[in-house]
Each structure stands twice: as C-alpha cells, then as structure tokens.
Amino acid sequence: MKTKQRLKYYFKSFKFFSSEYMKMNAVQSMENEYSQLLNVFLLLLFGNFIGLPSPPSSITLRILPLEINEMKYFHSKSARAGDALGDLFDAFNVEI
C-alpha cells in the first residue's frame, strides 16, 4: 500500500514539475523582455531623477501614486544597472 501511495506521489510530483517546467520554457525569454520593457517605461517616467528628459510633471505626478510596487522593481533594477550580462545571457539562451 505504502509503495503504491509513494509511486502515486512521485507520479503526481513529476506531472506537476513537468508542467511547471513547460510553462517556464514557454515564457522565459518573454519574461525577460517584459522586465526590460517595464524598466524602459519606468525610466521614461522617472528618469527625471537621474537627469533624463522626462514627461511633463502633469503626467508623472498623476501616475506616480499608482506605481508604488513597480517602483520597488525600478530601484532594484537600477541597482544592477551596469551589470546586465547575466540578464542578457538568460534572455538569449546562449547554450554553450
């Protein structure tokens, strides 16, 4: 009985992991592109703080309160600004 339950458990885990694995494969590059685009969007909005030309304050002030969560991401991404090699190698699946 126990072995049968064990097998069932392994089988279920395998099914779960392989479907999660499949999902990951189907979206990995896209997620990277999504995060890069999001970074660009945030740069456009808030790049003012680092000297980039940015939209009129009327726009940024209205959007700012809605952007709290994404701001956290912006901080973390900016901290890694000069260091994108890892990101790029991920995005581009250089399998050598």
């Binding site: 979206v27 660009v40 726009i59 002030l61 209205r62 809605l66 709290i68």
Partner: protein, 305 residues
C-alpha cells in the same frame, strides 16, 4: 466694430499675450472694465510680475474677490499655485508611501517644486480650472510670450508623451497577460490601473486641445506697440501657435500716435495679419489707473478690420 467682437457666445476666455511692457495689463484692465457691463467678468493675472491690481486700483490677492459690480479679479501667486497643483499628488503619496518616505517627503516636495516645466504645467492646469468656473468671460493677463507659448503648446507635448507611454504600457501589459495566461493555464484579462489612467489622461488632453482650438471659447489677443522688437515677437508668437492651429482673435496696438511711423506700422500689421481685427488704443499722457479713468478711456479705442 467695437470691443464686443471679443465676447464669447456662451462662456469664454481671453488670453492677453505679448512682450513685457507693451500694455497687456492695460488692455486686460480696459477690456475687463468694458465687459463687466454685459457679462460676469473675471480678470486674473498669471504674469509673475503682477500689475493688474495696480492698474485696476485695487489690492488683489491669490483669492478671487469681487472688486466692482460684475467684476472679479485675482493675482494668483505662482508658488502657491504650484503647491496647490502638486498638493493632490503629494497627499496620495503621503498615504501610499507611508513606509517608504515618512521622513523624506518634505525634501521630495521641495525638489518637485523646482522640477523643470512645473510652471508651465501649473499654468495650464490653472487655465483648465478657470474654464470650469462660472464666469461668462475671463480675461487672463499672461506671462511673457516665451512662457505663454510653451503653456499653449503644452497639451500637444503632453499628448505626444502620453501616446508613447500608452503604446509602451500596452505592449508591457500584452506581454504580462500572455505570460500570466500561460502560467494560469487559461486566458486572463488583466486590468492595469496605470494604462487606464493614461488613457483617461489622453482623453482629457484631447479635450484640452479642442478647447484651445475652439475659437469661440478661447480668444488669443496679441498686444504690441509701434516698435520693431515687440512686433517681431508678436509675429513669432503667431507663427508658433499657428503650428497647433491656434490663431489670434485680435491684435492690440497700444500707445498709438497718429504720425507717419505709426501709420506705416499699422499698414504693415494690416498686410501681415489679414482678416484679424485690430484694436487701436491711443496714447494717453496720463496714467490709466483706477476703474473710473479706465472707463472714461474706453470710448477712445478704435476697432478696425
């Protein structure tokens, strides 16, 4: 023809523009005194170098107050305007950013006040506020033409940015939706408050553009004197706003003296600005201060094709 050509059909705004010192405030005051006989009039000066109160003979403040029958006036303070303008956002920030910036919020506020372009944003926002008030006619004494031009063209700049942001955000949300749908195993529709806000903004900006282009609601009056520099600036101003389909409703020639130079000047204006009514205000040897003197002077003003 008389000054009533500038009256709107229902509600309207007159923006009195021109180089500093040519007589914007004088004309704004004259016209306000004239219009109050027929319409509930508001006269405001958004020129940082306020003279409106001096000319009208009343001490004006940031708040609108009634200075005579059917005539209201104000001299809004730029610093306060900016503060009011960003106050709303700051309140929301204070509420949502509690944990992050409880201490730094004041510093942030100061920085925002200095941010480039905040004056133009504030002024445009103020014009929208004026639009919503219940005065039948609002006469606005504007800042020097460089600022006024930027304010008038601001909606187009804003819409360029907003469209770009909507485009990018739409793409981002497209990716997010696709990614989340795959992760969830079924088609998801994501609602993005930021995209919604941007679209709302885009709509408001379009309405703003239409308002500025609406010759019934917004009349731009260019003021000049018979001198080269103010005239050149007026031409430049006209060309600049014409890019956005905003045209002059009338031209005011201030301190007009009937001599050769002035007449030649008038000819040149007539040929350069065809079809636009010219309002000629003769030179006055005495200072035009106070409603009584202004009222008496009005009959001397000529309006020609």
């Amino acid at each position: 023809m008389d000054l009533s050509i500038l009256f709107p059909k229902e509600k309207g705004i007159i923006l009195v523009c021109g180089k500093g010192g040519v007589g914007k405030t004088t004309f704004s005051s004259l016209f306000s005194v004239y219009s109050r006989k027929n319409l509930k009039t508001l006269a405001v000066s958004i020129d940082p170098a306020h003279h409106l109160g001096d000319v009208l003979g009343y001490s004006l403040s940031h708040q609108i107050k009634e200075i005579s029958n059917n005539l209201y006036a104000a001299e809004p303070d730029m610093e306060r305007l900016i503060k009011e303008y960003i106050q709303g956002s700051i309140e929301i920030l204070k509420y949502t950013y509690k944990e992050l910036v409880a201490m730094n919020l004041d510093k942030y506020l100061d920085a925002l006040k200095e941010s480039p372009g905040i004056e133009e944003d504030t002024l445009l926002d103020y014009i929208w506020k004026l639009k919503k008030m219940d005065f039948e006619i609002t006469v606005v004494d504007t800042p020097p033409t460089s600022i006024t031009t930027r304010v008038l063209k601001l909606p187009w700049l804003q819409s360029m940015w907003v469209e770009r942001l909507i485009d990018l955000r739409g793409k981002i949300m497209g990716y997010k939706e696709t990614i989340e749908s795959i992760k969830a195993g079924k088609k998801l529709k994501l609602d993005d408050p930021i995209l919604n806000e941007l679209i709302k903004m885009s709509q408001e900006i379009e309405d703003g553009k239409k308002f500025l282009n609406n010759k019934e609601k917004v009349k731009i009056v260019g003021v000049t004197v018979a001198e080269k520099l103010p005239y050149l600036e007026l031409k430049r101003f006209r060309n600049s706003i014409m890019e956005r389909n905003i045209s002059l409703a009338a031209i005011v020639i201030n301190r007009y003296v009937d001599d050769a130079k002035n007449r030649e000047f008038l000819n040149e204006i007539n040929s350069e600005f065809i079809g636009i009514p010219k309002i000629i205000i003769p030179f006055s040897s005495e200072d035009l201060i106070g409603i009584y003197k202004l009222e008496n002077f009005i009959e001397k003003i000529r309006v020609i094709e």
